[in-house]
């Protein structure tokens, strides 16, 4: 699949993982990634009802009950939207996402680990589930 997450709006830098650092008890850490494809002539749609159902970006937890809860992560389509976003809630990003820089969808992420001992959490992932890629 050519679609993926990128660090930049030009879709130059595909992300293999997303490293985020937050000071314990400090301000939440905000990040911005782009969902898109640098391959021309592609589209991404939900497999349930392509072109009708929304493609969703969600937060998945590889080890529920331990590590960091998905509620520690908020998603929004704008920086301002993070304020009212609900931790752990999936984000609708459109019924069809076209490839190319003009079709890239910015996904704003806010992580708040809360109080606790310094540690590294690797149980959470950003995910786009059950989608199909096809030619435009």
């Amino acid at each position: 699949m050519s679609f993926g997450f990128f660090a930049d709006a030009g879709l130059t830098t595909p992300l293999a993982d997303l490293a985020v650092t937050q000071v314990v008890g400090g301000s939440p850490a905000d990040r911005l990634v782009y969902l898109g494809s640098a391959t021309a002539g592609k589209k991404l749609q939900a497999s349930s009802n392509p072109g009708v159902d929304q493609v969703q970006v969600s937060v998945t937890d590889g080890s529920p009950g331990s590590g960091l809860a998905t509620t520690a992560v908020k998603l929004a389509l704008s920086s301002a939207g993070l304020t009212s976003a609900t931790g752990g809630a999936a984000l609708d990003v459109g019924a069809t996402i076209l490839s190319g820089t003009s079709g890239a969808v910015p996904v704003f992420i806010r992580i708040d680990t809360g109080a606790g001992a310094p540690q590294v959490f690797t149980d959470l992932s950003l995910a786009v589930i059950d989608v199909v890629e096809s030619d435009v």
Binding site: M1, T21, V23, T101, F121
Partner: protein
């Protein structure tokens, strides 16, 4: 409304279709034929129709009398109405198919109606040319030639609605009239106007007419409906709906075609079976202790940099190679430059070194036992190198700054970077990286990618993160200060911009020569005779005014002729002369003519603006200058514009006077000029600002991985107080000892600590051109010169421009040629030559200054 296929009609009362009579002529035999809607019968009236027979018609059978017809035979297919009292149809349609074996003029095709002259008649008007004529009330229509021919079926249709009557032949309208009328079929068989097909009652000429599919409606059919009846010449039977409903019987003709061979229609169907997929981006969230990034707000200071051992975490395409690292790990970062990293490792197995290039690298520094890991670098391997003796592979990595910006959409750059950009300043930029740098040149900010490779625009002041560094934090002896050199600083930027466009100009001038009657005929007083001059002639004026090089005659000249009459001297005994009525109009006392011309004048506006820092210039003892420039040029109009008044843009030239239009099309308008100037001025200010902040304060401290270009640092050393933005740095981790340091530098400039922002410029303007010209610029030279008189000078064709005449009855010498010449005014050089307009200004500005105190 069009009939459905098959010719559907609804005869129920009040329905739209309104079929009232229909004779299909489909009987298999017999002398009568049925009307199948209202029961109106029909038969061969009075006699046997010669040759009448049932034959195969256009649709089903027809009545055909075309086989044996003799001139003078009287016959017709007569329509017999069931009820004489039925009302006439104020709106109707009559339609039938007919075929005449041998066209003969005035052969009647049909005659319908009885209403005192309101009957419709169609007949052959011109047998040779194949013309059919139709008459109904005021309607008279003739078909085009060759519309009907021997033995060929044709369809006649006549309609009458509330306004118009129309005639159609073969579905095509051949005439119409806006009169109204009424029609009903004839009363009885003995009536003169019995409705009939194929005969004229009074002059019963029958020429072998075959008829088929005749019908009448109580409304005017529309052209599409008539076209349905015509059915491309194939005709159609009319299906009758007797249900009275809007629906009713539906006819579905079956067309069965025997194909020569079986065929297959194929539509490839491409079915892609795909499995729903999931995109996943693992998150590595490091929650670190506040102590390792303490003091960032600066207010309380930072007591001391954290010490202790560090370890590196390095992944190569997601594979952790931390335990195979060796030597040092270095990470560099600087404003407007790519972040780079370097590390060395021993591969676990045989490795193709070239395969490393482009592979993703992630580097983090973690404290002690691996806690407080902080990302340091994310990017790709740019240049791997191998130490042949040890097999160690050393990788130099980049975060792809330039590549990221090269791929960034311009609208994203416009929004993220801001600033100004103008093509005349930067030229056309195909590369977005260069485009971004051009915009950045007008913004007091830098760019870089953060540790996650996301682009960031970093202002030079007003950064959200601050850091206070004290003596205790600094590694001994590492603090150094580099002040800007004179060569690095700038005290002024000389901006020179040119804006070039075309001024479209027009001028109207007058050529006038007018003399009183006495000029041409005068007498010297009592006892003297008349003094007569040769008159100008109308033809002479016409020739002289017709062509004036470089000018276009606006209109025919206005010529004043003398009145005819008899003119006497005083006293009359001394003579007189006569201007006859037929001669007077050929003579002239004077004339007035107007001309105009158009031309283009190139205008160059030059702006010379010095943006200066006066105080610094004074301090340095003179200017340290740099220049910047740009040229904006508007496209010119066609050269034909000057020669052809019809070429756009329009310019209305006054009768006498000047008009001008500055040709400044979109993209090169005055607003674009101003944007060019503002772009240059913004860049000049940023350049001055940048030149003053070339000083650097450098220091090293135990590793602070979190410090990056988004930090404003204040140095509080015993001997130095300085503040500025972090502009470059290097983190070094020695893997053998676990020692890590951060080498940092801030930019400092002129001392003072004062804020200053980008000025809002007040642009100088050039003076408008002075178009005031003397009256002579708008009038032609036309003098008057009299020869043959006492004292007349010899003729000089170079100087005697105007009307040259002679005393007719004089006794002097030096006769002149009787002529008229006109000299147009010159267009002055200042009007025609390129125009240079200049504006100069010196704008004193200030730039932010910095905390920079040294107390040895």
């Amino acid at each position: 409304m069009a009939f459905p296929a098959g010719g559907y009609a609804d005869i129920a009362a009040g329905t739209a279709d309104g079929l009232v009579y229909y004779w299909p002529f489909d009987e298999a035999s017999g002398a009568t034929f049925a009307e199948v809607v209202a029961g109106v019968g029909g038969y061969a009236h009075g006699f046997t129709v010669p040759g009448d027979t049932v034959a195969a018609g256009l649709v089903g059978n027809c009545r055909d009398a075309s086989a044996a017809v003799t001139t003078g035979d009287v016959s017709a297919f007569v329509i017999d109405p069931p009820d004489d009292t039925q009302p006439p149809l104020s709106q109707f349609t009559v339609s039938l198919w007919f075929k005449i074996a041998d066209l003969e003029e005035y052969s009647v095709v049909c005659e319908v109606g009885e209403q005192s002259g309101d009957f419709m008649r169609a007949y052959v008007y011109d047998a040779t040319a194949g013309v059919l004529a139709v008459e109904y009330g005021y309607l008279y229509a003739e078909s085009a030639a060759a519309s009907i021919s021997d033995g060929t079926w044709a369809m006649l249709t006549v309609t009458q609605d509330a306004v118009n009557s129309k005639a159609y032949l073969n579905g095509v309208q051949i005439g119409s009239d806006n009169a109204v009328g009424a029609l009903r079929i004839a009363k009885g068989l003995t009536e003169r106007h019995a409705s009939k097909f194929g005969a004229h009652f009074y002059d019963p000429i029958v020429r072998g007419v075959a008829v088929d599919e005749a019908a009448m409606w109580s409304r005017a059919l529309t052209q599409p409906e008539i076209a349905d009846l015509w059915n491309a010449g194939a005709g159609t039977s009319i299906v009758i709906d007797v249900s009275g409903g809007a629906g009713g019987p539906i006819s579905l003709p079956l067309v069965i075609t025997s194909a020569s061979a079986a065929q297959t229609i194929s539509l490839p169907v491409r079915v892609s079976a795909v499995v729903p997929q999931t995109l996943s981006l693992p998150m590595r969230i490091s929650a670190i202790d506040s102590s390792v990034v303490g003091g960032l707000d600066g207010a309380a200071g930072w007591a001391a940099a954290p010490g202790g051992a560090w370890q590196a975490i390095v992944t190569l395409d997601g594979t952790d190679i931390s335990d195979r690292l060796t030597g040092q790990i270095l990470v560099w970062f600087a404003d407007d430059e790519a972040r780079t990293a370097e590390f060395a490792f021993l591969p676990a197995s045989t490795l193709q070194p070239m395969s490393l290039t482009g592979r993703h690298v992630y580097i983090a520094f973690a404290q002690g036992s691996g806690i407080n890991a902080q990302p340091m670098f994310s990017g790709v391997v740019d240049a791997p190198a191998i130490e042949a003796r040890t097999g160690i592979i050393r990788c130099v990595c980049t975060d792809q700054l330039q590549e990221v910006f090269s791929n960034a959409p311009r609208d994203w750059i416009d929004e993220a970077v801001g600033g100004r950009w103008h093509e005349s300043v930067s030229g056309q930029q195909a590369d977005n990286w260069q485009y971004m740098l051009d915009r950045l040149a007008s913004v007091p900010a830098s760019v870089a990618l953060d540790v996650a490779q996301s682009p960031r625009v970093l202002p030079w002041r007003g950064l959200p993160r601050t850091l206070t560094v004290r003596d205790a934090d600094v590694i001994d002896g590492s603090l150094s200060i580099e002040l800007p050199s004179r060569d690095q600083m700038r005290t002024r930027i000389d901006v020179r911009a040119q804006y070039r466009y075309t001024r479209l100009r027009g001028r109207g001038i007058v050529a006038a020569f007018n003399k009183p009657f006495a000029y041409y005929a005068s007498y010297g007083g009592p006892g003297t005779g008349l003094r007569l001059l040769q008159w100008p002639t109308v033809s002479m004026i016409g020739a002289a005014t017709e062509s004036l090089p470089g000018w276009t005659l606006a209109a025919n000249p206005v010529i004043t002729s003398p009145p005819s009459g008899v003119y006497y001297a005083n006293p009359p005994d001394f003579g007189g002369y006569i201007i006859p009525p037929d001669v007077a109009p050929t003579l002239a006392m004077g004339f007035t003519a107007y001309y105009h011309t158009r031309w283009q004048q190139v205008v160059t506006e030059t702006y010379e603006i010095a943006v200066t820092l006066p105080a610094l210039e004074s301090a340095l003892g003179g200017p340290v200058a740099e220049t910047a420039g740009a040229t904006l040029q508007a496209d010119s109009v066609s050269d034909d514009w000057s020669r052809d008044d019809s070429v756009a843009p329009t310019l209305t030239v006054p009768l006498v006077g000047d008009v001008s239009l500055s040709w400044q099309p979109a993209g090169a308008a005055a607003a674009d000029r101003d944007e060019m100037l503002r772009t240059l001025l913004d860049r000049a200010w940023v350049r001055l600002y940048a030149a003053q902040r070339t000083g650097r304060v450098r220091w090293s401290l135990p590793a602070r991985p979190d410090i990056w270009l988004d930090v404003w640092a204040q140095i509080e050393s015993g001997s130095v107080r300085a503040a500025g933005k972090i502009v470059e740095g290097r983190h070094v981790l020695d893997l053998d000892t676990g020692e890590a340091t951060s080498e940092l530098a801030i930019a400092v400039g002129l001392p003072g600590g004062a804020e200053a922002s980008l000025p809002s410029w007040s642009l100088p303007s050039v003076d408008a051109p002075d178009d005031t010209r003397p009256v002579s610029a708008y009038s032609c030279e036309i003098g008057d010169y009299v020869g043959g008189d006492t004292g007349s000078a010899p003729f000089d064709e170079d100087t005697m421009i105007g009307f040259c005449t002679n005393v007719v009855n004089g006794h002097g010498t030096n006769l002149y040629p009787h002529q008229l010449s006109i000299r147009s005014p010159e267009i002055a050089a200042e009007d025609r030559d390129p125009l240079d307009l200049t504006a100069s200004a010196e704008i004193a500005v200030s730039v932010p200054t910095y905390l920079l105190e040294i107390d040895p």
